[in-house]
Symmetry: C3
């Protein structure tokens, strides 16, 4: 198993390299990522390449048993690029070019920048393809710059639209340009929809798609070179978990596997729901295990830094990812840089370069991973529950939230976190994926719902599946136009309801809802309320507010061999979702072998074996009921009925 | 009486038009507003006009007994205008032209845009002047764009200033350019005062006046065409109630009557003081009844939508306007559009086009209006109390609030809302209006006070009127220069006080005041305190704070046959203003025939008859004491002593 | 002693000048500041100078015994400059030139503007050098505009950098441009670091230095003229107390003495710690007494004004500055202007020009000052405690705070305010100053610590001094690069500790600390925690949080003949700092002759005599224990054991 650090030999004197490599080796590290910001070091003047320093670093590392992943360095253009080719700098909303000097400064439609990118990629690939210490590549770094608004981008947007729509009439229809008299007669009339809060939502949506595509194309141009010149190397990219501006499914498509950068340690210690959610999203991109390319090593921040991972936390953060499918882990960074905007983004070593507590904890973790390697080989997470994770709906809701505070991710989290608390693993899937592998499919806030997806969801239920949908699902078509159907549109079939009206609930209001069978107790409805009219569905909870007394808030409908559940509001209390998820799991006959207490996570990797990771996210000792007689792989001991986990403690059970 | 909807046939397929017209007819609707955003449909290419589609829509509507108001479509320029004449797009503060694609994108000084506006207006007027189904016009839509900062606007500003001041020396004096060494020697040196928070207040004030004038001139150019070509049609504009950036008196001057767009349903249900306030402002613009051109039909919002009007609320909102003088009401919009930035601005019908609850409630209201028509014909609100509503003071205070949070409207509301609670109707008047018609005149925060107005207010009191002024009244002259007189300046005469010093009260402080005769009880003085020294006036309330013990907070002065009241601070408790207003009304001998309980509004329209509207703004049942034996027009029953109003209920009494 | 007002004869008619001068004389005023915004009056057209009006004003004032300080009027360029030389207007981030019409609108690198500045300065100097009523000059007004981002500034920045670093390699090293691949090969590649939150911290730091230098150079160019032409006049500038953007030590260097503008009266009445702090900073700039060039005369504000100084407060504010070394005091302004953006920045007289309460209070104060003059002549504050006040650290922390909310001034205030409460006078010193004069030196948050300063601090302790350092001291070198040493770096020697790790404490967290000897009681640690490992130092307080139990929060180390104290966290409770400061003072053997009760300030000026100012900052009567038998100079009475001070009261004791 690959475990290591992000390393920047160019930050330190040559004589330190040997010390660093020896310390890495001692820690059990066997991989580094290198060079992703080192364009200027590799091409100090245009077309003059210097790789000697990197050859030397690779050699020293190699001698210590450490392999390397190289980054194509296009996330920071050299200063000479900005000076010689100012058109490569992205154009901002105020009409000025961005000031060079941070990172991610480039325009992605610039022919010049794309050419320079291909040249440095080709030069690196040619030089390093035969180096035995190089095992793979990372494209660029954390794709996802702000959009460039230059004429080149606008013209390329026009071309992209013309390719998508064929004729201007189709675009007018797709964007609904009959509204506000916005009909175009020529592509050249189309502006960049600079303000996503006021421009046409359809235009905004396509602008997001176009920008995502610009990034994917940029990466593809590098990949095309690497695949030819380095056929034995893998290629990955360091994704940013729940980042929303790019369609990560598209960006992942051409890669061998996904990697991502995980920084979950900022505020008060808390259960790391989001890092788990992000890990499942990352695994879902290619439906396979992933790497952590940047793992939390210390306090981070550009101006002010955050909390220092407390004793046990570096290991805890790392194990959570292992439990969700991380097959490689690389800590960012090896040593805290004394210079630049990230001089407070702390590594395993501090500015002083001494191997201290954080180094020790990472080394302990690395050594444990090597011991576990045999057991977890060829395992991954296998889930019976799927949550639809869709960038089209993410974007549609960012453009028009519908109700205040609504985002796709917030909606998903209401259900995801309840599943986490129940100890259930989840797959994140696309709307186009096959639902039949799953017992339960959750479509939360799936704002954009194409007819064929609705048909397939109905079919899934008809054949015995359990579908849970919640409010604002199915409002729009693929163009971002509202369906001219009574909500929930085609899903009325499997959900057995109709929604004639709905309303936002202002922040200073709430409605009371209470169970009417199936759900027990009273809860608080906030933010939004569908006035749900059951057409065959059974009401599970109803509103207590005078004007909605005749409507339902939550329903369940038998349809074919399955059932369709609907939650027409946002409920304040977590307990509501816990109860609901429990009902769904019971109906699906899904039982967890280990039920975690509050603050503890359980995630299971399966292959030939079944390995359960039990992770304490709190600073208290926790006791977990587990099956007896199972081998706990870290201690080598067999379990009794109860397992005790210290602060941030981890256990790995062979079930 | 005209009741109807805002309708967009261009949003829907031709075959739907017949269904829509039939449904409108069934609801009792007899008018629609059309085409105000349809420039591109009427002039798809420059100088090529296409009105056939609108002729057809008008014909279908006409067959169903529905007349039409046409909008001049200049609030959205066609895309071809922006492309061909980019100088028509407004220039923003950052030096870029606004990106076409929302609405209100144009520069109002652009000769080109003004010419295009006249051409489309003329073409429409020529085509539709003889159409029997057309009854009137709306100019543009909701005038009040952000200011354009282009050179054309700057040069026109210079010309406007030259016309206003004649010579540069007069401008220097009016703006007080001796301060900070800002004297000009030539008009061309004058910049646009882009930052209203730091530029010279006099320059800022004139910039506001100039921008208001640009809009008025633009409208006038359309009116000049319509008056000639369509002499039988009325012309109106849809104003925005309490919108502050334009001098609405000027904008209304050339119109037949004022219309406005009323959206009072957003947050938690509450008494609609502001919609009442706005209605009175609208009626005051031309001192006559008005129309509602856009009335709340459902939840509204561009990104997130708001609350759905609860059962009874659509009717309640509409009746409130009827009670204040609305002679026509048009719901915005007929059907919720499935496209564009307003796809969540809901109409009477939803996206699905089905006539449901909201349609039913509007239809019920329409039918009631037709029944009431005979009774309310030739009635309007007739008030004994006037509140001075002045755009000069609104602007002066927006430029320099004086004390934190101070706005002209906030100050007026302190008194307006107390009058509302007392069941008293109010007229909104200009400083130049005749005060002698009224028993009470309120000058709240009338920051800009010209000498002749002060003289006329003194005369009004001398002859028996009651004047109430409050703090920061009379601080400035028409140029925005502070009077070099001890406050309250010329009004000292009728108010009998002098104010040598004053202070803002920071948010974390307050002073206590208590009654010293005339006012009873203790109250909290916040935000601002005049150190009022009575010179003949009787102290009604004084400060309890050590350094102001010798000063008054509230005073009353006998002067001639009348009295001058002064409130030198902002009082936190509503009860203070209720008590004060009661005293004023008692002194004026004004008695209300119906005293509304909290949450209930009473407004009376008078003509030969006297019709009282009693409106419950709450979601509780309310009981109102009313004169016995009066006819309640909706039920057709005679009143007893008590009238019961359901949630959002309305009663209409013939007194 | 010079006491007077800021006066603008150009704001008022000629006939008022005599009245004003007579009123000033009556009040005991003997100095005015004139003309600092009157460029347009003195040079209405380029190279045409008109000084007659000012000659006349000076003559009238002179006849009334009033001398004048003249301002070079370059803080507001005339409108003709902006029109004729638009390149003199500063370029903003959005690429537009600032709109002329406020003040401080110029680019400081503009050759044109510098030339115009020199011309008007020379013309004034030539004209007024012989005027007997002129005693001195103020350069410009409140230096410290926003930075200009024009090409001229960028090129001059390059030249400045080249001069500082010599070769581009040295700059690359100093800025740490190996990070993110930011190495330059040519000066011309260097951008302006427009965003101080994301650009390279070293570049940001040098940009701040460069902008400070631009201002200093601009002032120097005026000084060079004034020194030659007006050798008998003093030259000063009106500084802004705790303003942070310029290195005030540099700006003060060429002046005769420092003046500053003091506006401490805004919100709720409170003890004026900051005005005291600022006064000590001002006195520290040249290590000598200073003037107040603008002293609070009434409510101030551009849009909304603030609180009116309550009775006694104008005098109180003024005495506080006298107590800290003010040798001249000038109230801003004489009369409230009726025009312009500062028409609500109230003077001693209101808009009405009547001499009322505020005038009376200032006059009383002026007369007292004249009586005190003999006693305070040649006295100044002499302190045993020094606080290091360093613009480099201020800037470094503004660029990268380290922990949330951290600023250099906030850190200093924790200690400064405790010293204030103890009645101890403080000197503000530079890191390069001689520490040996002091018994205690406080280095709070001294983020940038050069090796030689650390060495000298260690030496100071070794020889018997008491050093108190707190967290984030010594993190960086002069370039803003982090020292590659374990914290506190070289200071480990005198402090006897080592800090291997540290962390920010999020806003919703805190740690408990409690005394372990030396400090008693429990306190709350917020914002930041060093994990302090004593290496010889004695723990005074430790953390109670599980993961830090083994670390110290506060330590004291015997080193040589002195001691080194360290506070490794931010403590919420003031009492902690009071206790700590008491310990330090006790250890240093420093005893205050008068211990002020809460809300009262004591500051002592020494010369041949020792004059104690006792100032009540509250609106309550305060009793202060004082030595018996001392002369109270204002009342002329001898003290008994207790002295009673009324609201805002002041006593001046000859000790």
């Amino acid at each position: 198993m690959y475990v290591g650090v992000d390393y920047y030999p160019e930050h330190w004197e040559r004589k330190r390299w040997d010390i660093d490599a020896a310390l890495m080796k001692k820690a059990g590290f066997n991989v580094v990522r290198l060079a992703e910001f080192a364009w200027i070091n590799m091409e100090p003047r245009e077309q003059q390449f210097e790789f000697g320093w990197l050859d030397e670093a690779l050699e020293i590392l190699g001698k210590n048993g450490i392999s390397a992943i190289l980054g194509t360095p296009t996330a920071v253009m050299p200063a000479w690029v900005a000076k010689k080719y100012p058109e490569t700098l992205l154009l901002q909303k105020d009409g000025t070019r961005i000031a060079w000097g941070v990172r991610k400064n480039n325009c992605f439609s610039s022919e010049t920048y794309r050419l320079l990118s291909k040249k440095i990629t080709r030069a690196m690939a040619e030089h390093f393809s035969g180096n035995p210490n190089v095992i793979g590549w990372q494209t660029d770094n954390e794709f996802g710059s702000p959009s460039c608004l230059c004429d080149s981008c606008r013209l390329e947007f026009h071309a992209w639209l013309e390719k998508r729509y064929g004729d201007i009439g189709s675009l007018n229809k797709a964007w609904g340009n009959h509204f506000w008299g916005h009909l175009f007669s020529d592509w050249s009339e189309i502006p960049i929809p600079v303000d996503q809060g006021v421009h046409n939502p359809g235009a905004c949506l396509d602008w997001k798609r176009f920008n995502s595509w610009l990034n994917v194309r940029f990466q593809k141009e590098q990949l095309d070179i690497l695949r030819v010149l380095c056929p034995d190397h893998f290629v990955t990219h360091n994704f940013m978990g729940l980042f929303k501006d790019l369609d990560y499914y598209d960006l992942a498509e051409d890669l061998d596997f996904v990697s991502w950068d995980n920084y979950p340690c900022w505020g008060k210690p808390e259960v790391r729901f989001d890092a788990s959610f992000a890990a499942d999203v990352m695994r879902g991109l290619k439906k396979k295990n992933f790497w952590i390319m940047e793992q939390t090593a210390g306090p981070g921040g550009w101006g002010a830094f955050g909390r220092n991972p407390h004793p046990g936390e570096i290991r805890n953060i790392s194990y959570q990812q292992l439990a969700h499918g991380a097959d490689g882990q690389i800590w960012f960074r090896w040593r805290t840089c004394t210079a630049g905007r990230e001089q407070y983004w702390h590594g395993l070593l501090g500015h002083d370069g001494r191997p201290l507590r954080r180094y020790d904890e990472a080394a302990l973790t690395a050594r444990e991973y090597h011991r576990l390697e045999k057991e977890i080989k060829d395992t991954t997470v296998v889930a019976d529950v799927a949550v639809i994770y869709d960038y089209e709906s993410i974007w549609a809701l960012d453009i028009q939230a519908g109700y205040g505070g609504n985002t796709f991710q917030n909606a998903v989290k209401r259900y995801y976190n309840a599943l986490f608390r129940s100890g259930t693993n989840v797959d994140m899937i696309r709307p186009s994926d096959d639902f039949s592998r799953y017992k339960i499919v959750i479509a939360a806030d799936l704002n954009i719902l194409e007819d064929d997806v609705a048909d397939r969801l109905n079919e899934f239920v008809r054949k015995g599946g359990i579908l849970l949908a919640d409010c604002r699902t199915g409002v729009k078509d693929i163009s971002g136009l509202c369906h001219a159907r009574t909500l929930p549109g085609k899903l009325s079939e499997s959900l057995g309801i109709e929604i004639e009206e709905y309303e936002s609930i202002p922040d200073d209001m709430h409605f009371d809802i209470s169970g009417t069978g199936g759900i027990s107790g009273s809860f608080t409805s906030v933010s939004y309320a569908d006035w749900v009219k059951p057409l065959g569905a059974k009401p599970l909870a109803g509103y207590r507010q005078w004007h909605m007394e005749k409507f339902s808030a939550v329903t369940r409908n038998r349809y074919g061999k399955g059932s369709g559940w609907y939650v027409g509001t946002v409920v304040k209390e977590e307990g509501f979702y816990d109860q609901l998820i429990k009902n769904l799991l019971d109906e699906a006959g899904l039982k967890q072998s280990i039920i975690p207490p509050a603050g503890v996570e359980v995630s299971i990797r399966r292959g030939k074996k079944k390995i359960a990771f039990i992770i304490n996210h709190t600073e208290e000792v926790k006791t977990v009921a587990v099956p007896s007689g199972k081998l706990e792989l870290l201690s080598g001991k067999k379990t009794r009925k109860k397992l005790e986990l210290g602060r941030y403690g981890v256990a790995v059970l062979k079930l």
